[in-house]
């Protein structure tokens, strides 16, 4: 099997905020490599450093130490102008709150990104139209972006991120503001983008559902990254958790996993109630 090219190579990446007693190591010696065609999901609790990691990888925040290589170029050592150029040509951003230019139409949102990338006039207009049509937004080209549904907004955001042909897509909680159907659509779209093009997708999210489309899932906690084990869902509180870190019990020949003893006791007291929930969820999936 042909070895795919490295798109992102993060090495010993560290970001320290404050100093002395107030020092916080938001990201602490992270190593990460992502190849073309890969979709990597980074999960972790709030405040674990996910967004700080993404911000540094995207060239929006300078690391305290370590390197971020995109396509073989260490962006941590670039000056402001070159860094802007990297963001323009090599990286595409997808945001939790979409961050569309709301006074512009759907097409103009993508067109402006193309203008920023150096394409202008009819060429940019045609490219924006083509891109939006390929994402199923051909019927919304002249709509104001503020008038779209959440799912449509996120697809416009993805079209904008793809406008200048970046090798690396960075998505910050891309499904957090979407309902389950639109969240699923966006996940599938990100998977398709990773599969189709010679590009990689790095997603940071709390959303368990993205695990389904991820090639790898990493866990970031206290600024440190590690591979994640098998994930299960607590049938009582619904929380996603690693098997190795959960409390488990056997019930009628099946094993159930819980975030705490409290949840397991709750389950034992009324198993039929929670098993119904588990079966309903299973059917829904």
């Amino acid at each position: 099997m042909e070895k795919r090219s490295e798109i992102l190579n993060v090495s010993a990446l560290t970001k320290v905020f404050g100093h002395g007693e107030t020092e916080v190591r938001a990201v602490d010696g992270v190593d990460l490599t992502i190849r073309a065609g890969e979709l990597v999901l980074v999960m972790g609790p709030s405040g674990s450093g996910k967004t700080t990691l993404l911000t540094m990888v995207g060239g929006l925040l300078r690391p305290t130490s370590g390197s971020v290589e995109i396509g073989g170029v260490d962006i941590a050592s670039l000056d402001g102008g070159r860094l802007t150029e990297v963001r323009r040509k090599t990286v595409g951003f997808i945001f939790q709150s979409f961050n569309l230019w709301e006074s512009l139409s759907v097409r103009e949102n993508v067109e402006l990104a193309l203008n920023i990338g150096g394409q202008n006039g009819g060429r940019a207009r045609a490219r924006a139209t083509e891109l939006l049509q390929s994402l199923g937004l051909g019927h919304r080209l002249n709509f104001r972006s503020r008038d779209l549904s959440g799912g449509e907004k996120q697809r416009v955001s993805i079209a904008r991120a793809l406008a200048n042909g970046p090798r690396l897509l960075l998505a910050d909680e891309p499904t957090a503001n979407l309902d389950s159907k639109h969240g699923h659509d966006v996940m599938q779209l990100l998977r398709r983008i990773a599969d189709e093009g010679n590009r990689a997708v790095l997603v940071v999210s709390h959303d368990e559902r993205i695990r389904e489309v991820a090639d790898r899932v990493l866990w970031l906690e206290d600024g440190r990254l590690r591979a994640i084990g098998k994930m299960v869902r607590d049938p009582v509180c619904g929380m996603g958790l690693e098997v190795e870190r959960s409390v488990s019990i056997e019930q009628e020949g099946r094993t159930y996993y819980f975030c705490s003893r409290g949840c397991s006791w709750e389950f034992r007291s009324e198993p039929a109630r929670y098993l119904t929930v588990v079966e309903t969820q299973a059917r829904g999936n």
């Binding site: 993404l54 963001r87 203008n115 920023i116 200048n164």
Partner: protein
């Protein structure tokens, strides 16, 4: 003075500064002598003085009364209608007509001399005073003078050079001073230039500063309101030049809108002001409007400086903050 009969040179008493602030008294004999200089076709004696009068039923008004003694010198019917009324008649302009309510056929008296309005001419360009023309005989009676005139309007023979005639007048008549028609008109304009232009200039400067501040603050406010949108542009790779062009384009559009409204508003205000105050004369020239447009362009550039600094200071990482 541009609507006056064509006099290339004006002869005045030595030391006369301008027709509004300096009295020129010239003997008719001097006018006769100048008439004999080579190249001079004729010298038209002119009487002129600022006079007060009260129109019937109205408040006292001031008018610059003028009289030209063409004598046997030929004058066209148009010239006669506008500047050479017969004895007992007066020609006024539209501004004085509106101020006083006088119209053709109406009677008035100046210094006891009864006059009838023979013709109402177009408005003059002088905001300080209106000109009215009477016959030379009536002017003598009104001013109470007999053997003196105020100016001599020199008409040159065809092909005669102005310079040598002027030199001959000055050389042969040390008691006289010669103005070219242009200098004479400029001496009239001088009072406006010295009295009003500095005030208007200060108002223009204040307008420029206030206009620049308004455009700048508007763009600055718009920039603050769109901080996140500018942040997104920076995040996706917009260069400083690209962002500057956006801010400048906004400032230019705002300034262009202000310029258009300003010009249209100025024209409307001028029209209203002219209705309310007859002597309020305005003249919109393409050159002046183009100048204002150029200044507006400078305002747009200056007004962009502060917002651009603000945009440059936006941290693109804000896009990741909820």
């Amino acid at each position: 003075m541009s609507s006056s009969p064509a006099g290339e040179l004006w002869v005045v008493q030595q030391g006369t500064s301008d027709p509004f602030h300096s009295l020129s008294l010239v003997e008719p004999a001097a006018i006769e002598r100048v008439s004999g200089i080579d190249g001079v076709q004729a010298v038209v004696p002119v009487l002129s003085r600022q006079m007060n009068f009260a129109p019937p039923g109205g408040d006292e008004q001031s008018v610059r009364l003028m009289a030209l003694d063409f004598g046997a010198f030929p004058a066209s019917p148009d010239l006669r209608e506008r500047f050479l009324p017969t004895q007992g008649q007066i020609v006024i302009d539209e501004t004085l007509s509106r101020k006083t309510g006088l119209d053709e056929g109406d009677g008035l008296a100046i210094s006891g001399v009864a006059l009838t309005v023979a013709h109402v001419g177009p408005r003059g360009g002088d905001v300080l005073s209106q000109f009215a023309f009477v016959s030379f005989e009536d002017a003598r009676a009104i001013f109470g003078v007999v053997d003196v005139v105020n100016y001599g309007m020199v008409v040159l023979e065809e092909g005669a050079q102005q310079g040598p005639v002027e030199a001959a007048i000055v050389d042969g008549h040390p008691d006289l001073q010669v103005y070219t028609a242009k200098e004479f008109a400029e001496s009239v304009r001088k009072e406006i230039d010295e009295s009003f232009i500095p005030i208007i200039l200060i108002l223009v400067i204040i307008g420029f500063v206030v206009g620049t501040a308004v455009v700048g603050l508007t763009i600055y406010t718009a920039t603050i309101e769109r901080t996140r949108e500018f942040g997104v542009m920076k995040a996706v790779g917009a260069s400083a030049g690209f962002l500057y062009r956006i801010v400048l384009a906004q400032a230019a559009m705002l300034t262009a809108g202000g310029f258009t409204l300003g010009v249209l508003g100025a024209m409307a205000v001028a029209r209203l002001a002219s209705e309310a105050v007859p002597e309020f004369a305005t003249d919109f020239q393409v050159r002046d409007i183009a100048g204002v447009l150029a200044v507006a362009g400078v305002m747009a550039v200056l007004a962009s400086f502060v917002p651009v600094r603000r945009v440059n200071g936006i941290d693109p990482a804000i896009v990741f903050r909820a």
